[in-house]
Amino acid sequence: MNNPSEQWIVSALRRATDRMELPPESRWIRERRSTSHRSSLAMVAAATILVIAVGGAISALRVEPRVVPASGVDPFAAREDAAWARVRSQLPSAFVVLRPTWIPAEFRGSGDCLSPSGSAEAAGSGYARGAAPYYSMDYKSSVLAGGMCAGFQLQGTLSVLKYPAPNCVLVGTLAARGTTVGIQSCVGHGPQAPAGGTVSTGLWWVENGATYEIGSRDVDLADLIRIVRSLEPVK
């Protein structure tokens, strides 16, 4: 790839794909569904569309005005409240769901990086069959080189897990939340990782019988600790 015109083609290709819009992060992972029934579902859907077409046309004539949110509402705060409410509603009440009351200001999302986005699964549902209840919440800021969003992730599961994780080393501990919080440094490898891998920092601890972890490549340790100290149960 020494030819300048070839290099130009490759960089043009990368620029073109970088401009491709990503779907909302809430759609990146879905509940398990059977793909083998997709053809049948498509045929049923087509038949259903035909049946309801007339009714739909009639009701379209009576569409009510669209509800416009009141001005002055912080879209991030509304999205964050909704995301945490959704997570809380999907988990057993015995599982204390912790939510940050402080985050660094830049992690309120951007056009390409929806923030926050969460997922939760109770034991025995979806693809987490047999696993303990679990939730995660991603807070994002902006797109980095390579198309990834800078951010941090908070996770919790109603079980006591072993740490540090594989590819991670324990680098210290601190006292917080009435317990000992472990600090791990992890090296991730992949095509987008620089030579030697990308280094992320994670904090984990056990509280109320659950294990919580917060990790990031983009948030420094001091801010991660501040986030941990700010966590409050979601009612």
């Binding site: 990368r14 990503l22 398990r32 997709r38 053809s39 997922s119 198309g147 599961t157 897990l161 095509p191």
Partner: protein, 159 residues
Amino acid sequence: MDTTVERMRWESAYRSAFPSVYRGLLAVGARPDEAEDALHDAFLKGLERGADRPVTSVDGWIFVVSVRAWRARRIRERVFLPWTVFTDREVPSPADSAPDVLAALWKLPLRQRQIVVARYVVGLSQDETAQLLRIARGTVSATTTQAIAALRRSMEVEQ
């Protein structure tokens, strides 16, 4: 390893890989809805795979598995839903106001598209591409050279 730990790690790795692989699928020729479905199929396959069979390149593995899922869906739809021939396209049309380089890419054979995208959009090395596609490293190199040359010719003609 604990099932929950495995899932947490896989979900985190999948989310990191999603942007480049999704864009790679669109560049190869998938529609956005097809790319989402194919990626999700790969996510589930990764969960079923388990930690006892780790993948060396998560992005590459997800890309190859999702391309396979996308192709299988196209074939399945052609067999069971023949009317989709009229609404479906093997590759996106240049009339979609796509940048010239993508229009040129979509004229290449699928194999060439897949290798070019694996190398330059997903970011795999020649060795990773060869290993994941189960072809020789020399084949990756030669196909890449041919594809880039074809892209250059195509774009020169268009200009």
